[in-house]
Structures are given as C-alpha cells and as structure tokens.
C-alpha cells in the first residue's frame, strides 16, 4: 500500500468539476464543520470560497495559534550540489542549462553551516540536484555526521532514494525528508519533466511513503504553484498529507506551496497563482490539516511573507542562498532560482517579533536519534 493506490481512485477532471460546483453554502458548511471531510476541503479551495477569505483567515489563524502557539520555526536551506541529470523545464539546475555548477566538499559544507550557525540557525535543510554520481549516499552520510554536533535537526531535499538508503541517513543523524511532487497532474507532470529519473511520477509519488517506512520524523511534501491548476493540486497535496499523517502516524507532516520563481531557462508559469489564491490555499490547508506544518520560503516577497505570517505559517527560512557555497564557501556559482525576500535572518527575526511571534531556532534535539557519533 502506498499513496499511489490511493490517488488512482481519483480523477483530476472530476475533482476539478467538484470544486467548480461548490456553492457559498458549501463553503459556509465547511467553515462551520467541527471536523472536515474531503468535500469540505474542495469547498474551501473553490471559486465560491473567494468571498470568504477573511473568515477562512480568521479560522486558520485561531487554529494555528492553538496548535502551534505564537511561534515560527526558523530553518535555512544549504545547497550542497547543483549537478543534475534531470531536465525539469522550470528549474535552474536543468541539465541543459549552461550554468556554473558545483558540488561542495564536506569541509565546504561545514563552512556554510558554521556561517548559518553564527546567524543562529540550528535546523538546516540540505539540498542537491539529482546526481547520485556527484552526491552519492556515502557523501551525504559523511556530511550528516560532520554537521551533527553543530545542529539540532538535519533534513534533506535530495533525489528520491530507496527505503534502506533513507534508513542509513537516519542512522547517521538525518531526521527530516522533503520531497515535492511539484504537480499531481499526471500528463502535466510528464510535460515539465521531459527526461531523467524524475520523469517517473510514481517513484516520486511514493518517496514520502519510503521515507515514512524508513522512519523519518518529519515528512515535508509540496506542490510547485504555477505548473497546473492550484485548486486541484491543492486538493491532492491535502489528500497526500492526510494520508501520510494517518499511515506514518509517528512522523510529523508539513506542506510547502512554493510559487515558481524566475530561474535560468526562463520558464513562464502557465497557471500563475495570485496572492489571494496563495492565501486561500494556505487557509484551506490549515483548516483541513490542523496539525500540519506549513512552510514559507524566501521565494515569496518580504511584504507577502509578513502578511501570510499570522494565517497559518509555522516554519520560515531567512537569508537563503540557492547556490552551493552561496553563504560562505564559494563565489560565482549559480543558484536554483531567484530569491525574493532578500532580508537578513536578523531582519526577518525582527519582523517576526514585531508581529507578536517568537522565532524558534531550536525545536528538536539530536539526542532523540541514537545516531552514530562522528
């Protein structure tokens, strides 16, 4: 059993039609329901809900404060390799893009993390493109072991692996796995992933299952907004998260909903997502998944990040660089995409505090995992 067996019971077009049929009355019912079903989620994602944004925002805010308090978990991405054998049309690391690429040495990664540690970060997300040749499992293990003494939590956003490989990462101190399906639309997925291992929709879709089976404490899934209809992708990512919460009941599930940013290759989103739609999606996900983490990266502009903060966000990055070595170790390597919120972590932390929230740098302890000591 995996999410594949679940998702094949649904048809994209039918979900789309069901969303379009929802009425204001359906939205009111969904808002008032003490526990919500999938139909309620569809109502909250529907065009009919556009007139209820303020009510949705209030409810999402209240629920988030109750479950998470007035806190925002801080994390930083660390790009360790931009080598990639995929050709995702929207991504700066697409193998056809003529960019300067790099794979950091273990010492360079440590230098990057020392820099972030100095800024206060204790949770980091290690990222690679898909190139097991440049960033093999034992390289990732060496990095995890090196970083462990510096950090409270290490997550990875890397090429999909087999369950046993994930187990080895966990044994060596990695506690979280991030993998986005990008879009749940099968045909559209094939169009934007024309070649490379990422073309395999099902292997990617089942990656969080393998991560859950391996025992990651945190599973983070997401959709890349702009690739397909955000309402239907929102419904599917909501369904996926609810499935993971139920099946891997000891793992905490988070959802990201990054919007496409300008990147090398110049891809233009076919389904642009407006700010109001971001708000609606985020509130709908919060009302559907009261306990899920909702992640907001520096892809979004500073002003929007401030406004989204009280609506349901639980995790934020700050001061991010998307090029390997971009913090301290290297110069002149190109990033995966352009950052929009360029403020320093200190500025972002001041903004968070000004909104009446506590930035939390540490909310995990390496002591939980009985990881191999370096």
């Amino acid at each position: 059993m995996s999410f594949w067996q679940k998702i094949i019971q649904y048809r994209w077009d039918r979900i789309h039609a069901a969303i379009c049929r929802k009425t204001a009355q359906d939205v009111r019912q969904a808002l008032q329901a003490p526990t919500r079903n999938f139909d309620d989620l569809l109502a909250l994602l529907s065009p009919a809900a556009a007139g209820f944004l303020e009510e949705m925002a209030l409810a999402a805010h209240g629920l988030t404060v109750q479950r998470f308090g007035r806190t925002i978990q801080m994390f930083a991405p660390v790009y360790i390799s931009s080598e990639c054998i995929n050709s995702c049309v929207y991504c700066g690391f697409n193998r056809h893009n003529q960019i300067s690429r790099a794979t950091l040495s273990v010492a360079e990664v440590e230098k990057e993390v020392m820099f972030l540690h100095g800024q206060g970060f204790r949770h980091v997300l290690l990222l690679t493109g898909e190139s097991p040749h440049h960033a093999p499992l034992d390289y990732l293990i060496r990095i995890a072991r090196k970083l462990q003494p510096l950090l409270a939590s290490i997550s990875v956003e890397i090429y999909p692996m087999a369950t046993d490989d994930y187990r080895r990462l966990i044994e060596n101190g990695v506690d979280g796995l991030t993998v986005y399906q990008e879009t749940y639309h099968l045909k559209r997925y094939a169009e934007v992933h024309p070649a490379g291992p990422k073309r395999n929709y099902r292997w990617r879709l089942e990656t969080p299952d393998r991560g859950g089976q391996a025992g990651f404490r945190r599973l983070n899934i997401g959709v890349l907004l702009g690739l397909s209809d955000w309402r239907v992708d929102g419904a599917f990512v909501g369904l996926h998260a609810a499935y993971l919460e139920r099946r891997y009941w000891q793992s905490h599930v988070s959802v990201s909903f990054p919007r496409l940013r300008p990147a090398a290759g110049g891809f233009q989103p076919q389904f642009p997502v407006k700010d109001a739609h971001m708000v609606q999606l985020m509130c709908a996900l919060r009302l559907w998944l009261p306990d899920a983490g909702l992640v907001l990266s520096t892809r979004e502009p500073a002003s929007l990040r401030e406004n989204l903060l009280p609506l349901g966000i639980t995790q934020m990055s700050a001061g991010s660089k998307t090029a390997p070595g971009g913090y301290a170790a290297k110069e002149n390597v190109e990033g995966q995409f352009e950052i929009s919120d360029l403020r320093s972590p200190q500025e972002v932390v001041r903004m968070i505090a000004a909104h009446g929230y506590e930035p939390v740098w540490k909310d995990w302890d390496a002591g939980f995992l009985n990881a191999v000591q370096p």
Partner: protein, 262 residues
C-alpha cells in the same frame, strides 16, 4: 484566613498548585511575566527547545532556577529509549534529576504511550530521577507508575493544546481516589473554570501551558488561572457541598419504620 496545606512532591514543598509550561509564547518577556503572574513554582521546559551546552540559551536564562523548580520534559520522545536518553543528557548537563516524562509517539494529538512511559519510568526511577509522568487518564496505569516509584501522576484532561477541559473527568476521579502520590491534571484545560473544577474534585495541582500562552493577554490569563486553582482548592478543602444521594428528603422515605416503632 486559614493557611492552605502546601503541595509536597518528593519531599519538596510548594505553595503554588499551578505548574506552567513554557511553549507557544509570543516572546520570552511575555513568558516571564506570565510565569510570574501565575505564581507557579514549578516551570516545565521542553529539552528539545533548549541548548543545554549554551550557557546563554534564551529559554534557560529566562527561568531563574533559584526561584523556580526547572522541570525538564522529554516532549518529542517517541519511545522509552529516546525519553531516557534526553533525561540523562539533561542531568549530565547539570539539571536537577527531575523529569516530566512525556512519551508521545504521535506528533498530532501528542497522546502518551502507556507502555513506553511505564518502561522509562521504572528505569529512570532506579537511576535516581524524580519522575513526573504524563499519562492518559488511566487509573490502573496510574497505580502501576506509583508502584515503580514516580513522584506524581499527571493524567490529561483532554489532548494537549485542545483547551477542551476535563473530558476525562470520571477516570480522573478514580485516579484521585486511589492515588498515594500527588495527582497533577495536565493538558487540555482551557479555562480557569476547568482548573477550578479539577481542584474541586481533589486534584493536587494542575499544569497549564497553551491556555495561558495563546490567550490575548497571557499575563492576565496566568493570573486568572492562579485564582481559579486557588478557588478550586479552597473549595475542596472547605468541604464542597456534595451532590447528595444521602438523606435529603424532608420526610425520609424510610421514616415509617421509625414511626412504627414509636
């Protein structure tokens, strides 16, 4: 005014019967003010949130250990092994050997695992820890924990952070009746009236976090909980009027027996 009896846990005496948590606050300053307003003498802190190796850690610095019993908790631990590992790390870093034992394998409702909690409690007690276990309101488990030597039992009123009140009232009543260690109602209490209700039932203390931390005015709410706990405890010690099944009818139903004898 009569002096209310103090709360005694493991030979330590406390005058406040309100324990508070430190999560979910909007800032460290608000947390400090709220703790002060609550009158609490026991403050619990998630070990996952503090960096024990850093003497300038925000949260550690914010809690005056001369004034409060700093009670580390193992929130986030999925099994006995993890909880024990964290408790030992805390003690090795210089914390008092007190631990609020939380083994919550499900990160959503954070409900405690009874099997792993009992296992960890038994071992930690043997290692010299004062163990305060967070449990579901299970009277048999409470007795089993007492037998292995925990210094309190801490049954939940409702899931953590739910603010739903004493949903487990009947079971908590049994735990209170049977317990030989202090019963601290932990989790789910959302209003001072819930806290008062627990104290009126005979609980020895309550622990509050979310309801204070996420209130519009956390300092005001902390004070309200202090008053709620005091009111409930005072009512309990004053001998609360019982809902009585006993001899209330103005002409007793069995009065005819006596009149026959007369």
């Amino acid at each position: 005014m009569t002096q209310l009896p103090p709360l005694i846990i493991a030979d330590r005496t406390f005058h406040s019967r309100l324990l508070v948590g430190t999560g979910k606050f909007a800032s460290t300053q608000i947390m400090q003010q709220a703790i002060a307003a609550s009158g609490a003498e026991i403050v619990t802190v998630a070990l996952r949130r503090v960096d024990l190796s850093d003497p300038q850690d925000n949260l550690m610095e914010a809690i005056d250990r001369n004034r409060y019993l700093f009670l580390p908790n193992t929130s986030g631990a999925r099994d006995a092994e993890e909880a024990m590992r964290l408790a030992r790390i805390a003690r090795a870093a210089g914390c008092d050997p007190w631990v609020k034992l939380e083994v919550t394998p499900d990160p959503h409702y954070l409900l405690p695992d009874p099997v792993e909690t009992l296992k960890a409690a038994e071992i930690l007690v043997k290692e010299g820890f004062k163990v305060l276990p967070y449990i579901n309101a299970d009277p048999v488990l409470a007795k089993r924990l007492e037998e292995v030597g925990t210094v309190t039992v801490m049954p939940l009123g409702a899931p953590i952070g739910s603010n739903r009140g004493l949903k487990t009232r009947d079971s908590i009543q049994i735990i209170i009746q049977q317990a030989q260690v202090p019963v601290v109602v932990d989790a789910g209490l959302g209003a001072p009236s819930h806290a008062a209700e627990a104290m009126e039932m005979g609980a020895d203390a309550v622990l509050i976090n979310t309801a204070i931390a996420t209130a519009g005015d956390p300092v005001g709410m902390a004070e309200a909980f202090r008053l709620g706990v005091e009111a409930g405890f005072k009512a309990y010690t004053a001998g609360l009027g019982r809902h009585s099944w006993e001899a209330e009818a103005s002409s007793p139903l069995t009065g005819f027996l006596r009149s026959n004898h007369a």
